[in-house]
Each structure stands twice: as C-alpha cells, then as structure tokens.
C-alpha cells in the first residue's frame, strides 16, 4: 500500500475566462500531511474540489486512491474521504447530534459513531442543543467531527483552526498527528498560521492558480535562502563598529545573516568576551511564504513589462 493517495498531473481548471488552476503537479503519500497555503482566490478551494470530485479538471488527471474522483466507480472511495469546507453553516434548527447523525448515516455509519465523534471533539455536552445556539468554536468542532466520520483515509481541511481557541487548536493538531500515525493523509488548507509548521510534512504555496513552491519546510527555507536572525546580547554596541558584522545589522540591534554565513558569524560573535546571551531565529513559515509571494509578484511584473 505504498501507492500515493492523491496524484495531480498537470492539472488545469478554468472557469470561463478565469484560470483557477494551471499546470498543478502534486503527489500525496499515505500518512503525509500537506500544508496548502495561499491567500484568498489563490485556487486552494478549487484544488480541494478537484480532489473531492465535485468538479473535473479541464486539462490533466486527478487520481485519488487509484481512481478518478469524478467517476461513478469512485463512489465507495468517497466514504473514505473527509472534508471540512470553509464557513459551513450546518442546519441551524437541528441539534449537533442530529446534524452529525445525518451525515454519518449518509456515509453508512451509525448514530453511536456520531456520538463518539462529538465526544472526541469535545462538544458532547451540547449535542442535544440546536446548532443555532453554538459558538463559532463549537461549530468548527462540529465541522471537524463531520470530517472525521468513518475514519477517513484522506482528510481535506479548509481553514480548520478558524474560530478555535489556543487549547482547542493544540487539541486539533494533536488529532492530526494521531491520524497521521494511523496512515491518514491530510491536506491542511490555510492562510499561514503560527504553529502549523511542526505538524506538516510538506508545504505547497500557490498563488493565482500556479504552484510557487512545493517541498518540506526545510527545503523551502533553503531555496528561499532567507537570512537568519541573530540577536546577540551584552556586546554594548560593539557590533556597530565591527566591520565584519556592520552590514548585517538592523536598527533593533539584530543581525540578518545569510544561511551560509551563519557559522562563521556565530564563531566571530562567540569570540567576544562580553557576549552574555545569543538568540537564533530561522525564517519562519510566514516569512518563507511572503518571500515566495513577493518573488511571484516580481516575476509577474517583469512578465507584464516584457509584454
């Protein structure tokens, strides 16, 4: 069972004049967690819909668990996929349990299963209340429970942590880690959020329907070649006069050092007797994301200028 769960080959999708996705290639292995990043309208949701089989690509092939998701033959596979749409409004007048039981039955599961899921996401105490009385966080938990119905092999989560408080977010990531160990593949679709990095294997950054970057966070970081932030303490402004370091210095007394210079700069700093402490900060996902977006914008402008 090492066959990839999702394969997108040269996939393009356009709505009339609008190119929602162009030439996307992606392979998702079993038990892999992919972070899909891009701002609104980048094509994230279109990509999810393609994988879910709600729409078909204009060009290229989508294969999910060995079948084309838009085919009739893919019916049985749909029960093994979980999807959390963005901003879904569940039936307000039904209770949480009724909503979840309805969705569970459609996937061939029982009311008991629905009840267990509500306990898992921590809203079992409110399951008899109508959904219209739920807070945003509770609605989001209900949505997650819905996505978890039937122990899916593939989870597509659109903005899963919106509306969750920090402890619920932590719980959510724990669940993702747990599912991953059970062999579930997860696509986390999100604006870049702090804390997501530790939980994803690879990141895909898209903008305007094109892939800007795809790889592990370490790879993306290396490719982006963003400087590392070093904040020495106790040097009392000696850095300003240090010719070797002066160029890296910003107005807050931190040094922005290219990755390949990191060790030599550190050695240099460590040689100073007065150094009392030192903070090292690699570029975070947010910065990597911004870097790829700005690169794309530059290329786009050049392209336009060329035409």
């Amino acid at each position: 069972m090492n066959e990839p769960v999702v394969v997108l080959e040269n996939v393009s999708k356009h709505y009339n004049e609008l190119n929602a996705l162009s030439a996307i290639n992606l392979t998702l292995a079993q038990g892999e967690v992919l972070g899909l990043f891009g701002h609104n309208g980048a094509g994230k949701t279109t990509m999810m819909k393609l994988i879910l089989g709600v729409i078909a690509p204009n060009v290229g092939d989508v294969t999910v668990m060995g079948v084309k998701p838009k085919d009739k033959s893919a019916w049985h596979m749909r029960a093994k996929m979980g999807y959390l749409p963005e901003n879904v409004m569940f039936y307000e007048q039904l209770s949480g349990l009724e909503v979840l039981t309805y969705f569970a039955r459609l996937k061939g599961q029982s009311k008991k299963h629905a009840q267990a899921l509500l306990e898992q996401v921590g809203i079992a105490h409110a399951m008899a209340r109508p959904v219209k009385t739920y807070s945003k966080g509770m609605r989001q938990r209900l949505g997650l429970a819905q996505a978890f119905i039937g122990q899916p092999k593939l989870l597509l989560l659109d903005e899963p942590t919106v509306g969750l408080d920090p402890s619920a977010t932590a719980e959510f990531y724990q669940t993702v880690d747990q599912l991953k160990t059970q062999g579930t593949s997860v696509v986390l679709c999100s604006h870049v959020l702090p804390g997501v990095e530790q939980h994803i294997d690879r990141a895909m950054i898209i903008s305007g329907g094109k892939t800007l970057a795809l790889g592990t966070i370490a790879e993306l970081r290396a490719q982006a070649n963003l400087p590392i932030k070093i904040r020495p303490q106790g040097l009392n402004g000696a850095v300003v006069n240090d010719l070797a370091l002066k160029n890296y210095l910003d107005e807050h007394g931190a040094l922005h050092v290219p990755a390949q210079e990191k060790l030599s700069v550190l050695r240099h700093l460590l040689a100073a007797q007065s150094l009392s402490d030192i903070h090292l900060e690699s570029a975070n996902l947010e910065q990597v994301y911004q870097y790829y977006l700005s690169q794309a914008a530059v290329q786009d402008n050049n392209h336009k200028a060329g035409v």
């Binding site: 819909k49 729409i55 019916w75 999807y83 901003n87 409004m89 569940f90 039904l94 309805y102 969705f103």
Partner: protein, 272 residues
Amino acid sequence: MREILTVANKEFHDGLRNRWLLSITLIFAVLSVGLTYFGAAASGSVGITSLSTTIASLASLAVFLIPLIALLLSYDSFVGEQEGGTLLLLLTYPLSKNQLLLGKFFGQGGIIALATFLGFGASALLLFVQHYQISILQTFAYFIVSATLLGLSFTAIAYIISLSANEKSKAAGAALITWFFFALVFDLALLALLVGTESSLNQNTLTQLMMLNPADIFRLVNLAGLDSSDVNGALAVAINAKLSQAQLIAILLSWVLAPLVIASIIFKRKKL
C-alpha cells in the same frame, strides 16, 4: 436507496419540526370542513352542503393554496443549502445528485401528501358519516389524489427554481411569480384569448392549452364529474371535452415527473 431514505427522513422531520405538516394539515382541514358545513351559507342555509358544491368550492380554493404552500415549502431546498455550504459538502459524500434530489422530493412530498390526506380526508370522513354514500369517498379520493399530485408538481417546480437561483431571495421572488403565473395570469390569458378570438378557438385547442397548467388540470379532474352549473369561466367550456379523469390524472402525473427530470438536468449542470 439507503441514501435516498436518509435524506427523505431528514427532510420529513424538518417538516415536522418546523410545524409545516401541522400548519398545512390545519389549513386544509379548517378550509374543507368549513366549506363542507358553511359552503351553502351564501344561499341562505347552514348545514352540510351537496357533494358537488363542496368539491367545486374546495377545488377553486385549493388551486390557489396548494401551489403556494408547495412553493413556499420547497423554494429554498437547494439554494438555502448552497448558501449555507452544506450542498457542496453533501456532494462530496457518497451520494449522487439524483439521490439527493429524490430524497428531498420524497421527504417534502411526503409532508404535502400527508397534510392533504389528513386535511381533506377530515371532511370526506365528516360527509361520509352524515350520508353513508360510497360516491363521497370516491369523489374525495380523486380530489385528494389530484391535490397531492398538484402539490408534488409544484414541489418539483420549486426545485427547478431553487436549483436555478443563486440567492435565496431571488428564488423566493421567482417562486412568487411562478405561483402568480399559474394560479392567476394563465387563466386570465386563456379567457382573454377566448373572448378576443370570439370563440373561433375550438374546444379541443382550449383543452389542450389548459394541459399546460397543472393547476387547470387539477380543476378539470375535480370538476369534470360535477354539474357544470357549479362551474363558470373558461373551465365550463373545457369540461365538456372528452378527457376522462384517469387521463387527466395521468397528465397531472407527468407534470410531476417532467419538472423533476428538468430539475435533475439543471442540477447535473450546476456549478458549485
């Protein structure tokens, strides 16, 4: 089949929960029992009126009410779920579009059918207890069957509206206009045609034109068996045409199936 039943069950329970079943049944029961008892009040007597007068009055009121109720019950079926995002979610489930459509139709149609049966059945029972005539049950059976078909037809038409609209408010407007057209404008236009062409329109053409409106077919089914003295307008002409009640009911049934098929085609093409 399990999927269709699951959806139908949910829709039916929604109808119970929202008091739709209760209110429609009450409206129908009050209307029919009232007309059965007081229908003759205009002619100066109170008491159970004749069967044909009762059916004639019931049919002419039901023909406005049933389409309106069916449209109100179902116009937001799809567009409402689309706005809430659950339509997209449901389509990622192992559930085909036709299964969803049929499930909703059985659920909401069940509400309409049950309300019609209970509501109008009440006055059938009342009349039967008073007169002990089998013909009463027969006539009411035709009435209830045709009323149910009329309701189902407009439920299916409401689905066409709900699947074509992208906003709930637009669907509501379209539903109202649809009702206005079938319940009022269509007959006025027919009458105008009849008067304007100075009866050069023959009876057959007129009857055929009436087949284009499920509400008129419903009227014909129920008035065909009665004295034409209780009937007036364009209908009186058409009634003398040679269409049996069974034929009319078959045509009414096709007015249920055709909109369903159209709704299914629109659903298939719908972009989400």
